[in-house]
Structure formats: structure tokens, C-alpha cells
């Protein structure tokens, strides 16, 4: 589904990604972990097409198509979803209008007629239930005045609305209380099928207790320095990152 090869990217002339290799297949759940500032969000931004970042080398293929060639909106239409670490507030744009524009943009891309108002509201109701998102939030401006946890819930709600093939969830667990974490994780699990895939970026094992990853990657200094099974997360929980940092830094020196 996703094949990333030797991906390099920079922002403001500073190289952040220094050769990322990653392959995700349908049905898989990958977790990306790594110390603060290692480039996890950068990777998600580059894959989603944030124009603030420049790709300086490498390639990324999404379902056989060149991902890096596509506009951010096309990536979305093709089935890529990014749950932001810091969801953006958009005062004055209602969630309803925003989601309707999103759904209909995708339908247009797929050569389908726009969704009727009743159909759309029914869909909203259905998907809201998955993450138990308050109706009040759905009728407000996008993320405006939402608490940290509400914003994260809203990301998963949007994911549910758009039914992506590949979701990248950047620290969707941070800022969530224990109940919310369960609800959000269960939401992600409910949306899981054999045909879609998820990349979760997280710092904590507790999310991985709910969302069972098949593969765990550790990103450090713009590279994936280790890839292993779920047991790696437990080891990190116990030992921290220092031992990995040391090994990598030794090799670099």
C-alpha cells in the first residue's frame, strides 16, 4: 500500500528526514515511536503533502501511484488520512460545512454525485457515535475552543467520515483521558478492515495495548533505526531510548 524509499526532506533549509524506508501492507498496523524532535511529525506532514516541507530525495508510492506528485487534496481522495498532532482551529467554518465539503470533494473526484443533505446528516450521526463525539461539537466551528482531548476525538471522527485506506495518526493518544483513550482506540479498531492500514505515532505503550501493532519502528535523527515486533514497545517502556541512541550515535561516529 505504502512504499517509502530513502525519503529525504527539509524545512527552511534544514534537513529533517535523512533517508526513511518504510513499507506498509493492507491490513497492517504500524507504530512509529522515537524521541522528541526525531522527525515523526515531519514524516507525517511530508506524506500528507504539506507544502512547507521540501522533499529533497527518495520516493513514496501509494497504491502504485507516486504519492509525492499529488496535491494534498488528491492524496486525501486517494485514501490517505492524517490525524494531526496539533489539530488546527478554523473559526467561522462549521464542522458540518467542512465535512460536507470534504465528502463531496471526494465524491466529485470519484465521479459520484454530491451527497444529499439527509444522507449526509445520517452519515454524520453514524460516525459521531463511533467516537462518541458530542453533537454540540459537531455543530461548532472546526476545533474552535475544543479541549485537547476533544480535538483528538474530532480527528478520529473525521477519519471515520472519510473512510481512508491509510491513516497516519500522529499522537492521537496524547491529551486523552483514560476513558477517551479507550473510546478513540476502540474507534480506530472498529474502522479497521483487512484492506486498510494504520500508522500510529505514539510515545506510549498504553495506546498499543488497545491498538495492537504488527510492526514497531523507531525513528531517530530522521532515520528509522530499528524495526521489530510489538515486544519492542515493551522494551522501550522499560529501558527508554538511551540504549538505542547510544548504539546509533556510536555507529554514526
Amino acid at each position: 500500500m505504502l512504499k517509502v524509499k530513502d525519503l529525504h526532506a527539509e524545512i527552511n533549509g534544514k534537513e529533517i528526514l535523512k533517508g526513511i524506508n518504510l513499507e506498509v501492507k493492507p491490513g497492517e498496523v504500524h507504530a512509529i515511536m522515537g524521541p522528541n524532535g526525531s522527525g515523526k511529525s515531519t514524516l507525517s506532514m511530508v506524506l500528507a503533502g504539506n507544502p512547507a516541507y521540501t522533499v529533497t530525495g527518495g520516493s513514496a508510492e501509494f497504491n502504485g501511484k507516486d504519492l509525492l506528485e499529488m496535491l494534498p487534496e488528491t492524496r486525501s481522495h486517494e485514501g490517505l488520512f492524517l490525524g494531526f498532532q496539533y489539530p488546527v482551529e478554523i473559526p467561522g467554518v462549521s464542522m458540518v460545512n467542512f465535512m460536507r465539503a470534504a465528502i463531496n470533494a471526494k465524491r466529485k473526484y470519484m465521479d459520484q454525485p454530491p451527497m444529499s443533505a439527509t444522507e449526509f446528516l445520517k452519515l454524520m450521526r453514524e460516525k459521531r457515535a463511533i467516537v462518541e463525539l458530542d453533537n454540540k461539537l459537531a455543530s461548532r466551528s472546526v476545533n474552535e475552543g475544543f479541549s485537547g482531548g476533544e480535538k483528538k476525538r474530532n480527528e478520529i471522527f473525521q477519519m471515520a467520515m472519510l473512510e481512508p485506506k491509510l491513516s497516519i495518526l500522529d499522537e492521537t493518544d496524547s491529551g486523552l483521558d483514560i476513558d477517551a483513550l479507550r473510546i478513540v482506540a476502540e474507534g480506530v479498531n472498529k474502522l479497521k478492515t483487512a484492506n486498510n492500514a494504520t500508522i500510529v505515532i505514539t510515545h506510549y505503550q498504553r495506546l498499543l495495548d488497545y491498538i495492537k501493532p504488527d510492526v514497531i519502528h523507531i525513528l531517530y535523527k530522521g532515520r528509522i533505526v530499528r524495526t521489530a515486533g510489538p515486544e519492542l514497545a515493551l522494551e522501550l517502556e522499560e529501558r527508554g531510548y538511551d540504549w538505542i541512541k547510544e548504539e546509533v550515535d556510536k555507529q554514526d561516529a
Binding site: 487534496e73 486525501s76 473525521q158
Partner: protein, 457 residues
């Protein structure tokens, strides 16, 4: 280049004094000589001088426009091609074609007892005492634009709502520019809302002929009596080749509540002045402005709010979206007199600039001469937030749609300020269409539109 654009109008007046006067009312005529001598002794403020940041008055007045001094009826029916952008409003509709009153079905129908809506010239003849009490009393004769209007004006719009009358139906005035030659319309509006009366007025400026030059020189005088309530929405939807010089003067008596809303959706070169003065205590004023500018359009809004009396509240909000090579200016003054205690005056100007070549100038100015006041002003000019744009695009919205939604959201609070629900809804739609790049805003014109079937020139 014209050395002095003003001179051609002074000459025009001198050479055609009799013609002008024969085709107007004696009350209007009695103000001309004074205006003439003031104009002869002055010159137009230069572009870039204080409060005239973008307004090239000389340039705007320089072209050789035709004036309809002999008040010849236009040889065609504007209803045939007029497309109203604010249809389906249940309003009492009146029309001015260039600066001539166009008789409409409604204008012959009776209004509630004592309410007068008619051509200014006719009002000056039929109700000379009433008109004399107000005409020229609010506008500042030293303002060259007012003097020019006063010297040349022959007709216009008069509206009177008597004491205690609550006019249920809004009044709508549609100004249409049309004609085969460059025309100048000299328009005067006099609006008197007497004590305890209530009314709303929607003014729409339309230019029909895209390929012709027009200039509108308009002075509006508004008097709100004690406890009166009045809304005026002044909507410009003209063309690139239309120039507009508008001076609005408002006087508010004790406990009156007024909303003035200047909306510029399409224009060429525009200067709007809003001079608002409180003459009694406990007045409320909401002054709103919105401008959507692209291509090479220009707009310069000047506002002056005079808090002369204690306990008055003013709340001002102007918003601009400026794209391409367009230019916008906002100069907002608030004056709080010594003794005008317990004044509350808030002013805000927010602008979105969408291109490197677009320009926005903003100049708030507060002059406060006592301590017991709550005043604030804020001005911010910025661009669309790239992170908001990106966020929306990751959900599948095209960049264009994302920009459109963000611009609409930006304008939302000025639109919400409209106190007439049907105008608010309509405006929301017009703004959306305007921002999405549609050239003509009205598409669903039909028989229900009050502009249809009403005009019988």
C-alpha cells in the same frame, strides 16, 4: 492631464445655472451659490494627503462626464435588463435611474400614514418646511465633495418617517447606472426618522453597462430623532469603470439607535465617507463595513464618529479582502469630546491580503478629551493561515475551496452584524458567490423578485 478637475464643474455650473435651477426645486437652488463660492475658494485634497490615502479626487473627477441637467427622461426601461441581487425581499422598492427618479408600481402605492418616500425635488416643493428643516443641516459644506454635490444636485431621494411610526416593511432603493455615454450622477439623499420611529433602508447601487464610465457623486444626510431606530445598508455592486464618491452624514438624537453598513462587493474606484455625530445622550451606533476587492479595484473608506455627548456607545467593524492588484484603505477616526463621559467606543479593522501586489492601508485614530471613557481600537492585516489551508486540504478540499471557506469565515462577523435576517442570508450568499469568483452575482432572478414588473417609466 487636467490641471484642476474641479474647475470644469465650477464652469459648468456658471454656464448652466439657469438650466440647473429650472430643473430643480427652489430650496435646493438656495444652497448653490454658497457651495459655488466655497468651491471657487478651495481645491481638492491631493491623493495621499491625510485621510485621502487612496482617493485621487482630481483623477476621479477629471473625465468629461455627461450630466443630465435638463432632466431628460431616459429612453428605455431599466426593468428590462435589470437583475436584482437582493430579490425576494418583501420591501417597498424605489428606483433611481442615474440620478432621476424612476416611477415604479410601488412608488405610486400608498405608504402608511404620514410616511413620505419620494423624489427629493418633489419633497422640496410639496413639503418645503419639512425639507428645509433638514436639508444641508448635517452635511459639512466645507467638504469639497459635499459642496460639489450641493452646487450641482437637482434631485434625489427623500424619506420621512413620522413620530412613533414603526415602518414594518423595509424600504429598498435601487440606483441604476445605465446609458450609452459616460455619465455622472449627482445624487442626494435626505432621510429623517422622527422621534420614536423605526425604519430600515436598503440601498443597492448597480451599474448595468460594463463598458461605460460612470461617476456617482452622492451625499446622504440622515437624522435619527429621539429614541428612533434606523438601519441603512448601502450595497455597491458596480463595475471596474464606475467611480463612486459618497459622503454620508448622520446626526443622532438622544437614545437613538442606528446601524450603518457599507458593503462593497463590486466596484471600480470608491471613496466612502461616514461622518456620524451624537447630539444627545445614550445613543447607540453600529458602523459596519465590508469590501471585497480584486483585479485593480480601489476602495478608500473614511469614518469619523463624534462623541459629543455623554453615555453614547459606538461599535465599528470594517473588514476587507484584498486580492490581485487591488488596493484598500481604511481611515477611522473617533473623537470623544471633553464632557462626553461614559463614552464607549470600539473600533476594529481586519484585513486579508491575498497577493504580493495587493495593498492595504489602515489608520485608526482616536482623539479623546476626557478620562471617563472605554475606548479600544485594533487593526490587523494578514494572510490566510497556511496551516489552516493545509489542514483543510488533507480532508480533500481543493485549495480554492479552502481559501473560499476561510475568506467567508473571515467575513462572517460583519455579515452577522446585519440586523435584517433576509438581508443577512442574502448577503451571505452574495459574498460566497463573489469570493468564489463569479462575475455576476444574481442568477436566480425570477418573477418573485420585486424588481420585476414594478418599473413603468
Amino acid at each position: 492631464m487636467q490641471v484642476n478637475a474641479l474647475q470644469q464643474y465650477i464652469d459648468l455650473y456658471r454656464d448652466n445655472k439657469a438650466l440647473i435651477e429650472d430643473n430643480s426645486a427652489s430650496l435646493l437652488n438656495s444652497f448653490r451659490e454658497d457651495a459655488f463660492s466655497r468651491l471657487s475658494a478651495t481645491h481638492l485634497p491631493a491623493k495621499g494627503s491625510e485621510d485621502y490615502e487612496l482617493s485621487d479626487l482630481d483623477g476621479m473627477l477629471a473625465p468629461d462626464y455627461g450630466l443630465n441637467l435638463s432632466r431628460l427622461p431616459l429612453g428605455f426601461d431599466p426593468a428590462l435588463s435589470f437583475r436584482c441581487d437582493v430579490p425576494n425581499l418583501s420591501t417597498s422598492l424605489f428606483m433611481l435611474l442615474n440620478d432621476s427618479w424612476a416611477e415604479t408600481e410601488i412608488s405610486r402605492r400608498a405608504l402608511p400614514d404620514g410616511v413620505i418616500v419620494c423624489p427629493l425635488r418633489k419633497a422640496a416643493e410639496e413639503y418645503p418646511d419639512l425639507v428645509a428643516k433638514y436639508y444641508g443641516r448635517a452635511a459639512d459644506g466645507d467638504n469639497p465633495l459635499v459642496a460639489l454635490n450641493t452646487m450641482l444636485v437637482q434631485d434625489g431621494f427623500f424619506m420621512y418617517v413620522p413620530k412613533g411610526m414603526k415602518l414594518e416593511k423595509p424600504v429598498q432603493l435601487v440606483n441604476i447606472f445605465a446609458g450609452g455615454i459616460p455619465m455622472m450622477a449627482v445624487r442626494r439623499m435626505l432621510i429623517v426618522i422622527d422621534d420614536d420611529a423605526e425604519a430600515r433602508l436598503l440601498v443597492c447601487d448597480h451599474t448595468q453597462n460594463e463598458e461605460q464610465d460612470f461617476l456617482s457623486l452622492q451625499t446622504i444626510e440622515i437624522f435619527a430623532g429621539e429614541r428612533a431606530s434606523f438601519d441603512i445598508y448601502d450595497l455597491e455592486e458596480s463595475t471596474r469603470r464606475t467611480s463612486r464618491l459618497s459622503t454620508l452624514y448622520l446626526r443622532q438624537a438622544e437614545r437613538s439607535n442606528v446601524l450603518v453598513d457599507g458593503i462593497t462587493l463590486f466596484n471600480g474606484t470608491t471613496r466612502n465617507e461616514y461622518h456620524c455625530t451624537f447630539d444627545g445622550r445614550h445613543c447607540e451606533l453600529r458602523l459596519l463595513g465590508m469590501a471585497i476587492e480584486d483585479e485593480q479595484r480601489h476602495i478608500d473608506n473614511y469614518t469619523m464618529i463624534r462623541h459629543n455627548t455623554p453615555d453614547c456607545h459606538s461599535n465599528e467593524l470594517f473588514k476587507y479582502v484584498v486580492d490581485d492588484e487591488a488596493k484598500g484603505a481604511f481611515a477611522g477616526r473617533i473623537y470623544v469630546a471633553d464632557g462626553a463621559v461614559k463614552t464607549e467606543a470600539y473600533q476594529s479593522n481586519r484585513n486579508l491580503v491575498g497577493s504580493d501586489k495587493a495593498r492595504m492601508m489602515s489608520k485608526p485614530q482616536l482623539e479623546i478629551y476626557n478620562d471617563d471613557v472605554k475606548c479600544s481600537h485594533g487593526s490587523a492585516t494578514g494572510q490566510l493561515d497556511p496551516m489552516q489551508l493545509f489542514y483543510m486540504r488533507t480532508r480533500g478540499l481543493s485549495e480554492e475551496t479552502a481559501r473560499l471557506l476561510l475568506k467567508q469565515a473571515f467575513m462572517a462577523d460583519v455579515i452577522e452584524g446585519v440586523r435584517m435576517p433576509m438581508v443577512r442570508d442574502r448577503l451571505r450568499l452574495l459574498v460566497e458567490r463573489r469570493l468564489s469568483g463569479e462575475k455576476k452575482l444574481c442568477q436566480d432572478c425570477n418573477e418573485e423578485c420585486p424588481a420585476h414588473d414594478t418599473i413603468t417609466l
